[in-house]
């Protein structure tokens, strides 16, 4: 084969990696690349803002399990993407972000649209590169994909100087990737597995606390097997929702700041906490010194830095969650003394305690037959979609109500910005999800504040025929912040009242989408039905109870047993 241009080589390499859809926005520094893309099968989803490109690639990755790809121009294009990159980094989502850069000879000269994006994104990428040598171009891209998708996944950025992309090169053969300084530990240490299993057998009040790592490792099945064979109740983090079926009897729902009473009490009272693919985030633990004080802790995670970072772990297992759970399952299959029925009988008293908590304070809300309660909207969405829709969220109360009241039974169906809490994430993420699964129903559960942060992506959804449904829980407030002000700032609503909000129904129309509104409870179901029956993008404007709060709530810095209840 003869020489091809750098941009052609990049396109070829993307195809080799299985990429069919990317999310991007053009500019001077990436003209060559966009030109080469035109001759390929790869679709570029032309977003309306680069933050949207990265969130869309992120949504695509979360639902499909594949690496999401975004392509941004240099300077402002790249910096606009930073929030998206940081969002993916916090939630360990595999992305490759390609950014244009000024020609090599101009780097460091404050050239037009030059920015040190490698420097800027160093703390919010898993790794990043400035390609300096044309022979490194393809190997670097391959490495970027490899690093993004293996180990603890994360975003990898590759900065591509314009002149380099225009240079001709010989396309290198694909060879196995070996990075001597990057060797994630995939397989659990048998001694640790043995220790963990013995400890599990002794436990009288065990709890599985599972996070996004189970989803990224595609380990839901193995988790479900373990939980059910051993009758261990499961609580999930925000990122872990769907890793274990939320409507199953062993599920205690989410834990932490807005977790269920049952889950938080169970963690406080358990004698063994088995953390899988979770990282003891402050939103989960509350006051650290009071977290799971009666428990020994087993922690399975691919990332050694997660282990004993916040909470001292007794039995660490550094491994891919799926491999580790498989090893535990195999151990119990082989263990002669273990019997699932006896185990269930042994744990019956623990389940009685758990059932008592749920009976005392079930997850709930005060419904109203006139005013729309946001929780009712979520429950109705769940019912009418039979829980099969992909749900993305914005950030705030809308996100927490979605997490609490939509029972996620499948992994990769809940797409939310957990670690960074990025308002404006939901709509572009929904577009990315819809691009991955054109046939599925994708719903963005939104707030009236958040939706305005990337509302421009309505045009993208329209242009690329992504019939996403947006359910705005419109409370006229930056509701989550207002809730904190209500509780902790004497109801002084500083800058949380949004007096001027667009008419979302008219706004939808302006974009060629469909706008629907519900102002009473009775209108909720018809509006949702109509939206689900519409082939176009739909905005549903639900005028909800304005001062509804999210409960339970653990005030920041308090122990998770100190919940404010409904």
């Amino acid at each position: 084969m003869g020489k091809i241009s750098g941009s052609q080589a990049i396109v070829k390499c993307l195809q080799e990696e299985g990429v069919k859809t990317i999310f991007g926005y053009p500019g001077g520094a990436v003209l060559d690349l966009f030109d080469a893309l035109m001759d390929s099968e790869i679709t570029n989803v032309l977003v309306r803002h680069e933050q949207g490109a990265v969130h869309a690639a992120d949504g695509f990755a979360r639902v499909s399990g594949e690496v999401g790809v975004a392509l941004l121009t240099s300077g402002p294009g790249a910096t606009n993407g930073v929030t998206g990159i940081a969002t993916a980094y916090m939630d360990s989502i595999p992305l490759v972000i390609l950014t244009g850069q000024v020609p090599r000879a101009l780097i460091g000269n404050d050239a037009f649209q030059e920015v040190d994006i490698v420097g800027i994104t160093r703390p919010c990428t898993k790794h990043n590169y400035l390609v300096n040598n044309v022979d490194d171009l393809v190997p670097t891209l391959r490495e970027a994909f490899h690093i993004a998708r293996t180990g603890r996944p994360g975003p990898v950025l590759v900065d591509l100087p314009k002149d380099l992309v225009a240079t001709k090169l010989l396309y290198p053969e694909k060879t196995p990737i070996h990075i001597s300084s990057y060797q994630p530990n995939f397989n659990p240490h048998p001694v640790q597995v043995e220790k963990a299993c013995h400890r599990i057998l002794q436990a009288k009040r065990p709890v599985l606390y599972v996070g996004g790592g189970v989803i990224s490792a595609n380990a839901s099945e193995e988790l479900t097997t373990l939980a059910e064979r051993l009758s261990i109740p499961v609580t999930m983090t925000l990122m872990g929702l769907g890793s274990y079926p939320g409507s199953h009897r062993l599920s205690m729902g989410m834990l932490g700041m807005h977790g269920t009473y049952t889950a938080n009490m169970a963690v406080a009272e358990c004698d063994l906490l088995i953390a899988v693919g979770a990282r003891f985030d402050d939103r989960v633990t509350g006051k650290l010194s009071d977290f799971a004080t009666k428990a020994d802790i087993i922690h399975i995670d691919i990332d050694p830095t997660s282990i004993s970072k916040n909470v001292k772990v007794d039995i660490p297992i550094v491994a891919d969650c799926r491999n580790a759970l498989t090893a535990l399952n195999q151990w119990f299959v082989k263990e002669k003394s273990f019997n699932p029925t006896e185990q269930a009988e042994k744990l019956a008293p623990w389940f009685a305690v758990i059932a008592g908590w749920t009976a005392k304070h079930p997850l709930g809300y005060r419904d109203d037959n006139q005013v729309i309660k946001p929780q009712y909207v979520i429950e109705t969405l769940h019912r009418l979609t039979e829980g099969k829709a992909i749900i993305t969220t914005e950030v705030g109360q809308n996100q927490m109500w979605a997490a609490q009241f939509h029972k996620f039974d499948y992994p990769r169906h809940f797409v939310t910005s957990g670690g960074l809490g990025t308002m404006g994430f939901g709509l572009p993420a929904a577009i990315g999800a819809q691009m991955a699964f054109p046939e599925r129903t994708v719903i963005d559960i939104a707030g009236d504040g958040s939706i305005q942060m990337n509302i421009q992506e309505l045009a993208t959804a329209r242009q690329f025929k992504c019939p996403v449904k947006i359910a705005i829980l419109n409370n006229g407030y930056l509701g989550m912040v207002r809730q904190w002000q209500e509780l902790f700032y004497n109801k002084r609503y500083a800058s949380t009242v949004m007096n001027v909000v667009p008419d979302f129904v008219e706004l939808a129309k302006a974009y060629g989408a469909v706008g629907l509104r519900a102002t009473t409870r009775a209108e909720v179901e018809p509006v949702i039905r109509e939206a689900l029956d519409t082939a176009n993008v739909v905005i549903m404007d639900f005028r909800i109870e304005q001062e509804e709060g999210v409960y339970p709530m653990v005030p920041a810095g308090k122990a998770t047993t100190e919940m404010l209840l409904v």
Binding site: R122, H127, S181, Y182, P304, T305, K309, K312
Partner: protein, 161 residues
């Protein structure tokens, strides 16, 4: 507790800022840091001295290892090791104090590397505590300028092998 890490890194642009960015971003402190190429020009060796309790030191170790460009992290303090630092000190050396300065230099096996009418520049290597001792002794005489390299360290060879 003071801890010395010896870190082998890919010798590539930007690698040092990944390391320093990790320390600043996570609020770990750096007492000193030295870096230079090893025998293999593709690899550099970085010695960093930090302080913290056991949990922090464990995190530093793991976080360093997590960097893609980090090949190996050794926590030197957990083994037998030698550590050295070099210092250049310009000290007042007038008629009344010259003899004393020279005596100190001699005792600590330093060298005078620059001489002027009113001062000597002294070169000295040693462990952190030795360097500190010299500084303490010379301070009353009058230190005008001081430049330290920071610590470099190496584990001692295993005697049984």
């Amino acid at each position: 507790m003071k801890h010395t890490f010896s870190v082998l890194l890919q010798n590539k642009p930007g690698v040092l800022s990944r390391v320093t960015g990790l320390f600043s971003g996570r609020g770990f402190n750096i007492e000193s840091l030295c870096v230079a190429e090893t025998l293999d020009p593709k690899v550099s060796c970085l010695t960093v001295v930090s302080r913290g309790d056991e949990a922090i030191i464990e995190q530093i170790n793991k976080q360093l290892n997590k960097l893609i460009d980090v090949i190996k992290v050794s926590e030197i303090n957990s083994k037998e090791y030698v550590e050295r630092e070099m210092v250049l000190i310009r000290v007042k050396a007038e008629a009344s104090t010259r003899a004393e300065v020279l005596r100190v230099v001699d005792i600590f096996r330093g060298k005078v590397v620059d001489v002027s009418a009113k001062s000597y520049a002294i070169e000295l290597t040693g462990s952190d505590s030795k360097i500190q001792a010299v500084i303490d002794i010379l301070r009353p005489i009058g230190i005008k300028e001081i430049v330290r390299t920071g610590t470099i360290a190496m584990a001692r060879a295993n005697k049984n092998k």
